[in-house]
Symmetry: C2
């Protein structure tokens, strides 16, 4: 099996078509399969129930792998397991180990086991089980047979699917692609736009023989992906690391918040934040990382001027002479957070998220970011992100985290 | 054309399959079409380029409407327009008005017009144009012809598609469905699981003649959707409002954070929050609502015990006797936030988000929520959400907001 294997994704779920849930599976799978050299060629969403049969049969002749999400649960609509068994001519066998695991999980949560639940313990003969560490329905790998290609079946909830793919699905796929000699790297960058990055490294990257290059831009973040032979990837890596050094957040697709917490832990340093315009998002992102409590001491969301003075000691004359959205106040906020918490580093944000509150001098989208450190100089940076409120909060928090990332190293 | 018309959605875009962008189209379209009585029966994502032809041909016999997103731009990959003209046997005609509009747009932004751009001014003969108020490529409605059903073509960027659908697409669809006399309501609820809601109102709702019922569960939230004749929807509404009264957050799909801010504004009341385990998410959600600054005074993210004492005045002996995760500390945190900010209401959260930090007595997922109010009694609630860290934060913040929602009314 080579790395040009064709992959299709089938998502089952009436709730996806109904619009009540955004389908994040495709994006997650696309990103996770990339380092294996696998490309998703088509994705289909079908309702719960029997249509999954048509979807698999249509995808089969077009692909070497089909990844299915959803339809493994206990209700009568969840029939992916049965349909796959039927399509591949396999019988369903009861797996005592799975059932014991489910039973144990239910006992722990004090929930009564219903008859329906035991359906999840059936496995198509010859399939391998991918354990579900965050739910009841296990995932299944059903090897290619007759006209049906390799099938990987995952549960629908992202919090169950994502760790399952990472811990069991990816290693399994790597095994099936064993003769592959492809290497891949993903560089996560912050601070430059996609077009600027392409201008700096684009031409030289694409001129490396046997190297494939891709860029993925998100709000305040651009991934540079390279894939190819070992030599090609090494050449690409050298180029990217030299030319984009200060913008690289991670070379292993780690998020900036995780990178920061690891750096701070390593230095036995601590962190506090003082937020106005990001309104808690900065603290939220930091505390999304498991173990954040070892590093993160305190956050203050100081929306009103009174709160800025009361909690962070921002002098009222600073607020009146320069305004809340100013370099001076950003610095005073960061220093206030540092002083009250005793942290090694403190970040601050103050800006105009909109849609109201802009002026000619300080239009909606204006933001000042501050960074204070114990025994060091306080810095501030002025940026301008004229966009909707949520995007503004998101990109402002991203640049604030990036300011800290660079600050820890300097 | 009746309301049971079958709809398929085709999204074109290599970036969607690559995983660099989350596909939000399906969710947006699903929600927007619901009030028209239209259901999306299947959705497909294909790469840019010629595969769009196969996708349209496959969807055609299964549907009365096909909605296509993407592929209307100026680059050589953007060939939706040409393929649709070919499939429906229509010639492409140059539309002077469209070109003038594009030209004017470019002039305004000071960008030079390239030859490629003029491709966007071609329209399949007999199609109607949906103007693009936020970009260059107009949308197109191509009436059903031969074996191809009604086609609606939209540009790929959500900020162009969404206003176009709302302002031109929905009225156009309403016209095509003109004999429809359907009504719809969406009730957003928090505090009961989907199965519990179904148990309370499910049977009685489905027994109302000419009423269709749907449930959509998200983390800590369940939407109840009803659609049908005016009488049927009125009967359904009465039932839902009577039986689920205290759980209904909104009857117009408004989010709980927006509902709360409106209620507080109306009462000229203010809010402060004190977060431990939700780590800033509560403040972040509140400040996502435009105009939050009129109501929201201050948030404290007090991860460490020292911060709980220093900032909120939680007595150290309370922390040592009951532990940080306790009813007593939740109450003291809420009261501390109320006192320091002078707000009318204050929320608090303290719990064990995991994956570490759980004990036999207080396992990962345990959370205490507090609510204090000026001149009133402080309440606390113990809940248990054994799930991954982010889901835990999300559902804990949801229940905290719901505690406030009920508290404001009582």
């Amino acid at each position: 099996m080579n790395s040009l294997a064709r992959v299709e994704v089938i998502n089952t779920g009436t709730e996806l078509l109904f619009g009540s849930v955004v389908n994040t599976h495709l994006s997650y799978l696309g990103q996770s399969l990339f380092p294996l050299g696998l490309r998703i060629q088509r994705q289909t969403t079908v309702p719960d129930g029997a249509v999954i049969r048509d979807a698999i049969l249509e995808a089969a002749p077009r692909s070497e792998f089909i990844l299915v999400t959803g339809g493994l649960g206990p209700t009568s609509d969840d029939i992916t397991r049965e349909i796959v068994a039927e399509l591949t001519g396999r019988s369903l066998e009861y797996d005592e180990t799975i059932f014991a695991r489910i039973k144990e999980r239910f006992a722990r949560r004090g929930i009564r086991l219903t008859d329906r639940i035991s359906r999840q313990a059936y496995v198509p003969q010859g399939a391998s089980v991918m354990p579900n560490d965050f739910g009841t329905a296990p995932g299944l790998y059903v090897p290619a047979k007759e006209k049906v290609p390799h099938l990987l079946l995952f549960p629908g909830p992202p919090r169950e699917l994502q760790p399952m793919l990472e811990n069991y699905g990816i290693p399994l796929l790597r095994g099936l692609l064993e003769d592959s000699d492809l290497y891949a790297r993903v560089f996560r960058t912050t601070g430059l736009g996609e077009s600027m990055i392409e201008e700096i490294v684009g031409e030289r990257l694409t001129s490396i023989p046997e190297l494939e290059v891709g860029y993925c831009a998100r709000l305040g973040e651009v991934d540079v992906r390279i894939i190819g032979s070992r030599d090609a990837v090494e050449a690409g890596e050298t180029l990217v690391c030299t030319e984009l050094a200060q913008y690289i957040v991670s070379a292993d697709a780690k998020d900036i918040e995780q990178v920061i917490l690891e750096k701070l832990k390593q230095k036995r340093a601590t962190l506090a934040v003082a937020e106005s315009c990001t309104g808690g998002l900065l603290a939220d992102r930091i505390t999304n990382v498991p173990g954040a409590s070892a590093v993160f001491l305190e956050g203050s969301v100081v929306y009103s001027n009174e709160a800025k003075t009361r909690t962070l000691g921002v002098p009222t004359d600073l607020l009146s002479s320069f305004g809340a959205v100013s370099e001076e106040v950003a610095k005073a906020m960061a220093e206030g957070a540092l002083n009250r918490s005793g942290a090694s580093f403190a970040l601050s944000t103050t800006g105009i998220a909109g849609p109201e509150g802009g002026t000619a001098e300080k239009p909606v989208g204006t933001v000042y970011l501050g960074l204070a450190r114990t025994g060091g100089k306080t810095e501030a940076e002025k940026l301008y992100f004229p966009m909707d409120r949520r995007s503004f909060k998101s990109i402002a928090s991203q640049y604030s985290l990036n300011m800290l990332r660079r600050g820890i190293d300097s």
